[in-house]
């Protein structure tokens, strides 16, 4: 079995890529994909830790996260589609009416 540390590292790298992508990309769909990436990075971390510690809790947690992520994607995409229908743009920079 490969050392769990490598998996954690991969997960960390994935998380970092997701975070940076979230901050740096303007397209709402791409930002969503980055969020998914971050969630899956966390999943990977949990599974590796479960394997390393011989504990099933990690896999149980991943189940929960997967379900929630799926539901969240449904809602989020629905919102993006509505906005697109209204504004004909998917760039989040255009959606800044809530400024103080």
């Amino acid at each position: 079995m490969v050392d769990a540390g490598w998996y954690m590292g991969l997960a960390g790298a994935l998380f970092l890529i997701g975070a940076l992508g979230l901050l740096l990309r303007r397209n709402a769909l791409v930002m969503f994909m980055c969020i998914e990436l971050m969630l899956n990075a966390v999943n990977l971390t949990l599974i590796s830790a479960g394997r390393a510690l011989n504990d099933l809790t990690g896999q149980v947690a991943v189940f929960f996260i997967l379900v929630v992520a799926a539901a969240e994607v449904v809602v989020g995409l629905a919102i993006i589609v509505s906005i697109f229908r209204l504004r004909a743009t998917a760039s989040v920079d255009e959606l800044s009416e809530l400024r103080g």
Binding site: L23, M31, V92, D93, L95, S96, E97, L98, R99, G100
Partner: protein
Amino acid sequence: MTDLLWLVIAMPLAGAVGLHFVGRLLKEPLAGWLASAAVGGSFVVAAVLALPFIQGGEHAEVVQLWDWMPAIGARLEILWDPLSALMSLIVTGVGLLIHVFAIGYMHGDERYHRFFANLNLFAASMLTLVLAGNYAMLFLGWELVGLCSYLLIGFWFTRKSAAAAAKKAFIVNRIGDFGFMVGLMLVFTTFGTLSYSGIFERAGEELTTGLATLIGILFLVGAAGKSAQIPLYVWLPDAMEGPTPVSALIHAATMVTAGVYLIARSAAIFELSPVAQVTVATVGALTALVAATIALAQRDIKRVLAYSTISQLGYMFMAVGATAYVAGVFHLMTHAFFKALLFLCAGSVIHAMGDRQDMHEMGGLFKKMPVTAITMGVATLAIAGIPPLAGFWSKDEILASSFARGGWYSALWVIGLVTAFLTAFYMTRQWVMVFLGTPRWEGAADPHESPRVMTVPLVLLAVLSVIGGLANTPWRTGLEHFLEPAFELVQLQHPPEGFWMFVLLAGLSVFAGLAGVGAAFLTYREPRESWRGFEEGFEPLWGMWEHGYRVDDVYGQVIVAPGRRAAEGAAFGLDLPLIDGAVNGVARLVRELGDRARFLQTGFVRNYGALLLAGTITVVIWLVAGT
């Protein structure tokens, strides 16, 4: 039977409350007659219950009404003794006549019912004051009559001068009340109660001379405010802004006598302090003299009477200060008769002259209003102290008692004598100027005699002014026997014994009176140019007298102006910047913070995301570093 005593206060009180709320629905004279009936009812009850005292021998009784503040000896209780009986008879009797007069006088006024509601409230308050069985209830009545005085002086409140006069009366009274309250606190701390029964009998043992003096002087301050003595008399001339029945009832016959009553009631305390007694008498004498000089030069018919009231009250203070309490109360009674009569007659004249009050523009009114003229003439002679009218007996008893006491009081007797001359002079001056001589009003008015509802009370009061003095002559001291039980605990001062002493002293005061009457008659009977010349001959004194020694101006400079500056300083210098500033400052602070924090809300999702990430990393580092 004395359980019915509460009716004496309750009837006018019910009248006041009733007229206040439903008076508007009553047609005009009905409100007045109802109010008069209420006071009349009180008079009847008081008279019936006073009979045992008249027959002699009956002792005082305390009737409990309600537990108000029993811990400090303040219940609503009525002390029914000869003194309170006499005072209530005066208040309700003279009050009844004035109520009836006002039915005619206030005809046509749009707040007719409210006038009588206030007048009834005043009667109830004054009765509370005189019937009180403890100082707390007396103080309750005291304050209430002050309130009624304010309401009635300012009855025509749309007139700025009337509103100002009402305010002045209340405020000056308050200054006196402050002294009174401090005195009451001293009484309470010494005796542990405010009830008369717990105080007067123990006064001899519990009070040191110093404490008695202090209490006496403080009571004098309160009395000086209410009874318009130096230095708190300045409200009374201005109070003439009120309707004339108000001036007659409150500022002549009843409310202003409350101070005299207070001192008479507290006789047991004054008994222990010769210093306080002398102070009271001296204040009275000086006030009597000063007010008489001012009255000499007044042009307004009511102002003459106002200063005259102040002067006669000075006589009463002279009496009670010399512990001649019976003489003081006697003069209180006769003064109520003739002063109320004088004011009502003045009201009659003002009514006839179309609401004008300057005597320089009257004259020759005798034929036009004979009843008023004659009754006012009777009152004038009474106040001048011409026997056998009432004023002679009471004033002479005061002067003689003062003379008999000797020492400093003899000097006060001289002042009293001079004042008697001045009194006779200015009152006759007024009568002659108004009723005799050639008319100076040249068709600007239509003087006519007043209706019967106004002239009948005048006649009745005139009769009382004539026979009232017989209540207490040196040969038949009826009033003194009547009042004896009320003054059991004190030594009363009497006039000197002996027929020739009486003749000498009485002769002097009668001479002073006649001299005053004669001099004024001869001077003012002449045409206007002649007596104007006489008056101008006394300049600059006359001008000083006419302006009341400019005391109001002095008070304005010394007290009112600094007070106003202090108030403005506090309002604009402290309240506005500090307190308003604190509240406004909080609001401003919140707004500033909001302004500064606004830059965080850009509306850009990516900024929010960046902040989220930064925060998360911070927390993670902190957690990791903590392990």
